[in-house]
Symmetry: C2
Subunit: 152 residues, 2 copies
DNA sequence: AACAATTAGATTGTGCGCAATTGATATTTG
DNA sequence: CAAATATCAATTGCGCACAATCTAATTGTT
């Protein structure tokens, strides 16, 4: 059987959407790095702060569900945010298995300092907002289909 | 000033394309995991093998440029592939700074076993090939614009 | 030839990301 | 009410990912 043309070969790196997504995620991370360095945050820490700026005083589980991360990732990350005085971790009195994460005043205050981050990213994307929104919706739909397969 | 509507708030998690990309990358990784476990590879190791299946006997630098990874990531990864008898690492005699990566017979043979991986991913994506190609091209274009910004 | 600058890869340290396990707590069921 | 089951956070171990630093080799300049 003849070898497939490289532009159609599904085993070629450049033909794989997953590599496109994987390498785009790293590219975003590199653009974020200098912006987040000024806030003293890593990108995953920034994501946790985004969640908390929307709603405060939530269990670790809830944060994990929103970010698709488990406690093995979040526990040490949250301890670092606590060490940086941005969050407090307290056991729930209602359900003592749960650890509730609340923002400190510094944690709340950081939201203002972070306000300019999204527009810096938008500028780096060099793309219209409507195009980005359309892409975002497509990618989210793909992600959700993939996640649906994982849960059988 | 009035607070922005949440559907337009650029500081909201769900409005961020970078989180869409980030979480989609993780979702892909979770779909790949059981497929690659059978090959004894992690996803980044699989990417390196894809590069080598296209062209063999290349310096570490070339692999890094294709995958956007540096030696701090690749050196230990390649040592693990060597320990698994999939690649050989040899100093170039022409330029002794370079380490050339070549496939072993087992490394070549693994390509056949990996042939069904892309179509499994395609099935999990639950999406037409043409749609995926279009998305991939958009994401690659975005990634390249982001990478262009990083190099000033 | 001498010396500076560049390049390739290795090393170290920090921080994810996730599977597997543990232990505590809550809920369900007999 | 008590035992079995389920749930949750924490812990452990491995493998990226990258910045910063180091060593060695090559190239460029004079």
């Amino acid at each position: 059987m003849a070898r497939k043309l490289s532009t159609l070969d599904p085993q070629r790196l450049d033909n794989q959407i997953c590599f496109a997504v994987y390498s785009a995620a790293h590219a975003f991370n590199r653009v974020y790095k200098p912006l987040l360095d000024r806030l003293g945050l890593t990108y995953p820490q920034y994501l946790v702060m985004l969640v908390l700026w929307e709603r405060d005083d939530v269990p670790v589980k809830d944060i994990g569900e929103k970010l698709f991360l488990d406690s093995g990732t979040l526990t040490p990350l949250l301890k670092r945010l606590e060490a940086a005085h941005l969050v407090r971790r307290t056991r729930s009195s209602e359900d003592e298995r749960q650890v509730l994460i609340a923002l400190t005043p510094q944690g709340h205050a950081l939201k203002e300092k972070a306000r300019s981050v999204p527009q810096s990213i938008l500028a780096a994307s060099d793309c219209s907002v409507s195009e980005l929104v359309a892409m975002k919706d497509e990618i989210v739909a793909l992600r959700d289909r993939l996640n649906a397969v994982i849960g059988e």
